[in-house]
Amino acid sequence: MAEPSTSTPPLTVIRPQQGWADLGLGELWAYRELLGMLAWRDLAVRYKQTALGVLWVVLQPLAMVLVFTIALGRIAVFRDPAAPYPLLVLGGLLPWILVARGLVDGGGALSANQRLLGKVYFPRAALPAAAVLAALADLLIALVLALGVLAVWGHPPGTATLLLPLLLIQTLLLALGVGWWVSALDGRWRDVRHTIPFLAQLWFFASPIAYPLAAVDAAWRWLYMFNPLTGLVEGFRWCLLGAPAPPGVLLATSACLAVGLAGSGLLLFRRWERDLADHL
């Protein structure tokens, strides 16, 4: 048999796979251009033909801050010595923007792209990831706005603000983890997509976003440790508002949970993605 004259072409072996696969990060990296294009598509489609366009990214958190301030701002236990209530909510909303979109858009990414799944091969994990990356752009815009509001309000960025990129990475990991988990479940059980809006609401109120963690009854506060958003919300507030002490333990726990969710979510996704085309 003659050897090919040029360099040996890449070999792909297709065989049935059972059990757990690896994370497939190498392949995901090889398809990074597609990942970028899909994220760009999600972003472009979202703001095409909308009259206000990107302004929505800014209006949504502002509207929420306004509503919560009017509704809950005067409740005494919700007051925090470090910052006025509206800024508290704004700081809490920032990580929520990304994580919520990881849940809703990331979790629904497989159902939203069914046609693609049956026709072309690419690492399926790119779909939820692209949805999350598109949402990251929204977060960055909202973050710039928040920094502006804070500066005007007398909370200019301090040294703690330099740690913001680390917090953003942690938020991204959490959103990816949630996206992979929920989309893997959604690919298997159709009822998952109906519960997503409910889950999002539940999670929002179970996280100290519209209220400070200190307002929660001390007897229940330990439960908040298991919510990976708690540490992030407190972390963002510390970074932006300059609370006296960093929420070290909370943040570390939350970081571990985020990494754990992202890793386990991708593993589960990789295990279940094989059957997707056959029954979606």
């Binding site: 251009e33 899909l38 489609v45 033909q49 693609l116 072309v120 091969y121 690419f122 009822d191 059957d275």
Partner: protein
């Protein structure tokens, strides 16, 4: 034989019929879990591919032929890694481009320009590569003026042209092509097919699935013949094609009986016999100038609204020429009642051309399901009756699918002129 591009050993793919407990609603899964049956709920298994082995050398252009449901599309999906095999293994040497459907990645809100980049990325093209061939793609699609218009404003023809243009400029060592690629109006379809031929001609390895046997014959040096999920043959296109066509011709009434016996059982209807008759005699050698009857005997097993038999006339490339349903006399949706029936469909004289056709008899429930795909087939020859005794008049019957004898009337527009 030169170095292999694709080598497949013992490849199989099974699907479970019905909805297995693992992929229904969560409640069903939980119920199954409670009974300790999760993951081992066994529905009926159906093997779309079974023990398929073959090798394709680099640079070969191979057509995959076979009847509907023979596993052609499943094979392509497995090779394209869209679905994973149940057994066996396929080794693929080289970058694979799979064109199973054009425009897969397109989004209606995005412009033509944006969709070229998106659609290209989805089928595995690099951004630089797309940018380098952008002008070529736009020119091929003939959409220069509309390239910055959102594709939702395109006509379906424009959309298809753009989609095919992107796909056709994919550069890969191995191309998997499904026939649905040839889209749009007849002129563009011809360009699609010649572009596919061009792609195939540049040392690439191509696996091409098609119902249009003429396209396979034109492009492919080799053909892989699948039948019931297994490889029936693999070799020179002409030989495979002849063998495949011969298999479609069951050779008289005996073959039909065997075919009918092999049809999957349907709860509503059972075919009993299918025959062609002319002059009251069963025949497979008929004349063009006389009525031809397709006689279908069947048994209705249960009361079914909308159940009816139908026939499809096909050419030897398996393409449908026309279909006719038993429509009954009454208006509205007739209900078939249990019992045995004989349906006779009469083709009028001087409708078909003197050539070989395939007649396929099947049944469906209106708007619900088809009872058998494919149904029972008969190949038959029509011979020129010589109703039109002059070569002058019968010219129209040569090299065409059908040759209806249509009324013509010619009258002068003005008064007679002197010669």
């Amino acid at each position: 034989m030169s170095a292999p591009a694709i080598s497949v050993v013992g490849l199989g793919k099974s699907y479970r019929l019905g909805t297995p407990a693992r992929y229904g609603s969560l409640r069903d899964s939980l119920a199954a879990l409670a009974k300790g049956k999760l993951g081992c709920a066994r529905g009926d298994e159906i093997w779309a591919l079974r023990d398929v082995s073959f090798a394709i050398a680099q640079g070969e252009v191979v057509g995959v032929i076979g009847r509907n449901g023979s596993g052609k599309s499943t094979l392509l999906k497995v090779l394209a890694r869209i679905t994973q095999p149940t057994t066996g293994e396929a080794r693929i040497y080289g970058r694979v481009g799979s064109l199973l459907e054009v425009g897969s990645g397109f989004h209606p809100e995005l412009t033509g320009r944006e969709n070229i980049y998106l659609g290209g990325a989805v089928i595995g093209m690099r951004r630089r590569e797309i940018a380098g061939r952008f002008a070529e793609i736009v020119a091929f699609a003939e959409l220069e003026r509309f390239i910055d218009t959102p594709v939702k404003h395109y006509s379906s023809g424009m959309y298809m042209r753009l989609a095919f243009a992107v796909a056709a400029h994919l550069d890969a060592e191995i191309l998997l092509i499904d026939e649905v690629l040839a889209v749009g109006d007849a002129a563009f379809q011809a360009r699609c097919l010649s572009k596919i031929g061009e792609l195939a001609g540049h040392g690439r390895t191509v696996v091409f699935v098609s119902h249009q046997l003429s396209a396979v014959r034109r492009f492919c040096s080799q053909a892989l013949w699948l039948d019931g999920g297994r490889v029936r043959g693999h070799g020179h296109t002409d030989e495979m094609m002849a063998a495949y066509l011969a298999s479609l011709d069951p050779g008289g009434g005996h073959g039909t009986a065997a075919q009918i016996a092999a049809l999957p059982p349907d709860p509503a209807l059972r075919l009993l016999a299918v025959a062609l008759r002319q002059n009251g005699q069963p025949t497979l050698q008929a004349e063009t100038g006389m009525p031809l009857e397709v006689v279908i005997d069947y048994e209705v097993l249960q009361r079914t609204p909308g159940l009816r038999v139908y026939v499809i006339l096909r050419d030897l490339d398996d393409a449908a020429i026309f279909r006719s349903h038993a429509h009954g006399e009454q208006t509205g949706l007739p209900t078939a009642l249990p019992g045995r029936y004989r349906a006779t469909c009469t083709f009028p004289p001087n409708l078909l051309a003197p050539r070989r056709y395939i007649i396929e008899a099947s049944a469906d429930v209106h708007n619900v399901r088809k009872c058998f795909v494919p149904g029972a087939r008969l190949a038959f020859d029509l011979h020129d009756s010589g109703v039109l005794p002059f070569a002058f008049a019968s010219d129209g019957a040569r090299g065409v699918q059908i040759a209806p004898l249509l009324p013509w009337r010619t009258s002068p527009l003005d008064g007679p002129r002197d010669a």
